[in-house]
Amino acid sequence: MTKFQRLKRILFGILMIIVAAVMMEYADKSYMAILVFIGWGFMVSGIGSMFYYFNMARFMVGGRRALYIGVILMDFGIITMSLSDVPGMYVLLYLAILHAFTGVIEILRARETMKNGSKHFKLKLSHGIIDVVLAILCIIFLKDTKLAVYIYSFGLVYSGIMYVISGFRRTAMLQYIP
């Protein structure tokens, strides 16, 4: 990573920690802010993926993948932002499930890395497990939305710290260079 890339990671990690702190301070309403962030995040990613498809990937073998990913991400973004009228409990449930899904994907990726003989899977695996555990805790304490927000914020703090650490870490070896 270049110094600029490292700085970006560290700043992003710090931003996540700040956002978590703000959420904990305004726990009653902060889940709406989460919805907006995540919704817009999905929308932008989805649009980006679709733009890439129409610009480049449609000429590539297997390029439709980019289109499917784009459409799915956009749909997620729209669904996420449409949840503003729903009681907070359900919003938190949605967020928890999303978090759990992310955690499961991380675990599967870590397993695949491990199966392929690479040793660089432990961090990914622990990240995935923590995501899933936090999601479960969120669901268990769903009725107490404040507590659920605190749990979610803890997850953000953990992710933020991981980003900051990775900004200082020597990056993993590339797997193949021609």
């Binding site: 270049t2 480049m56 990937a57 000429f59 590539m60 073998v61 392929n116 003989g117 797997q175 260079i177």
Partner: protein
């Protein structure tokens, strides 16, 4: 390609082209040095880093894939290892962004190859070696581009290797290049992503770079997605290239490497002055008539490294010993030379050739309207001194 071809086979080709043993050693050393002349090495000996002809994995790790980083990567890999075949290729209904990458696809007998060989004429053995490295790689690395691009360099699970039926590494369909299915079978390849474990050609265990959906990921540079297959002289394989519109492509390395060898002999005859011009699609057939069987046996033998076979062939040709490649051989000469003397050292002459090659290719890419290798500016001839690149 690997050391077996870039060093030992280039030696053989140089000797057969009429160079002396010592001259052939200089040429083949330079050809192999292209794969090792990284920024780290140049920094170590106090040489201009702009002359790097390769990037180490650690350097790639640090290299950003922002716009400047991408241009830097493309300049090195497209100039020395994935020489574009046709910078003006046309393809209907494609965006310019796509075509900028498509036009970087490497292939033999392109216009840039002619320019590469002609550029080396009269500029010393080191530059000749660089040109031979580039020429050889146009055969091995064809159908991939020297820039990180998913839409050109990706491969998928449709990847098969041809395994000959009578698995006798000494024989093969010498020079025919048209194995029929009755001569063997197509075996599906399932790549693993284990960089620490070498490929096992007997068991058919191969590594490649991980799939990365990001267009400009380093994993999508060159032939990483095809693993080391392009560099194995024995390999015949088929796959669906990302740019190929679902048409299967069969790559016959023994056939291609044979062509590369004969073209190297022809090119070096031109560089020596034995023939007046270098044209693409021309080969030294006489060499193949005399040594074709021997060359085919080496190429088709199922082994990761054919150095010993090529070395044996080279020593038989010249009657002299070919020393093993030593990357540090000329480093002291360069680092201890005075500022004004560096240009006349072995590595100094190599650097001059590398800068010329890189400048030519980058300039041609820029001239074609493709900004993927960045801006290029022509220096007046008299300004091409090594010292200028320290500024």
């Amino acid at each position: 390609m690997q050391e077996d071809f870039h060093y030992y086979a280039t030696y053989c080709a140089a000797f057969l082209a009429g160079f002396t043993h010592e001259e052939a050693l200089d040429i083949c050393y330079s050809a192999q040095f292209v794969d090792l002349c990284s920024r780290t090495l140049l920094l170590k000996i106090g040489a201009p880093q702009n002359a790097a002809t390769t990037q180490l994995s650690l350097e790639m790790m640090d290299a950003g894939t922002d716009i400047v980083g991408l241009q830097d990567i493309t300049r090195i890999w497209a100039s020395f290892h994935f020489l574009p075949k046709d910078l003006y290729a046309k393809k209907a209904k494609r965006t310019k962004r796509y075509m900028d990458r498509y036009r970087l696809i490497c292939g033999p007998n392109g216009e840039l190859l002619k320019k590469t060989v002609e550029l080396a004429k009269g500029h010393g053995l080191q530059h000749a070696g660089i040109a031979m490295h580039v020429l050889a790689d146009t055969w091995a690395h064809s159908n991939f581009a020297g820039t990180p691009t998913l839409v050109i360099n990706n491969t998928d699970e449709h990847f098969y290797e041809f395994r000959e039926a009578a698995c006798d590494g000494e024989k093969g369909n010498a020079g025919m290049g048209q194995d029929t299915d009755s001569d063997g079978t197509w075996v599906k390849i399932k790549f693993r992503h284990s960089p620490s474990e070498p490929d096992d050609v007997e068991k058919g265990l191969y590594s490649n770079s991980l799939f990365q959906g990001n267009e400009i990921s380093i994993m999508n540079l060159g032939h990483g997605r095809a693993g080391h297959f392009p560099d194995y002289s024995f390999a015949k394989y088929k796959y669906l290239p990302a740019w190929g519109e679902y048409h299967e492509l069969i790559k016959d390395n023994p056939w291609d490497y044979r062509k590369a060898f004969s073209q190297m002999v022809y090119a070096m005859k031109y560089l020596k002055g034995s023939i007046d011009s270098f044209e693409t699609e021309r080969y030294e057939e006489a060499v193949l008539e005399k040594y074709g069987d021997r060359i085919d046996r080496i190429l088709r033998k199922r082994q990761i490294n054919a150095c010993s076979d090529w070395k044996e062939f080279g020593e038989e040709l010249s009657g002299q010993e070919i020393p093993d490649f030593d990357v540090e051989k000329y480093q002291d000469e360069y680092s201890k030379a005075g500022k004004d003397e560096k240009e006349n050292t072995f590595i100094g002459r190599f650097i001059k050739g590398a800068l010329a090659q890189k400048g030519m290719v980058t300039g041609e890419i820029f001239k074609s309207g493709n900004m993927i290798a960045g801006f290029s500016k022509a220096l007046p001839k008299g300004k091409l001194f090594i010292q200028n690149f320290f500024k």
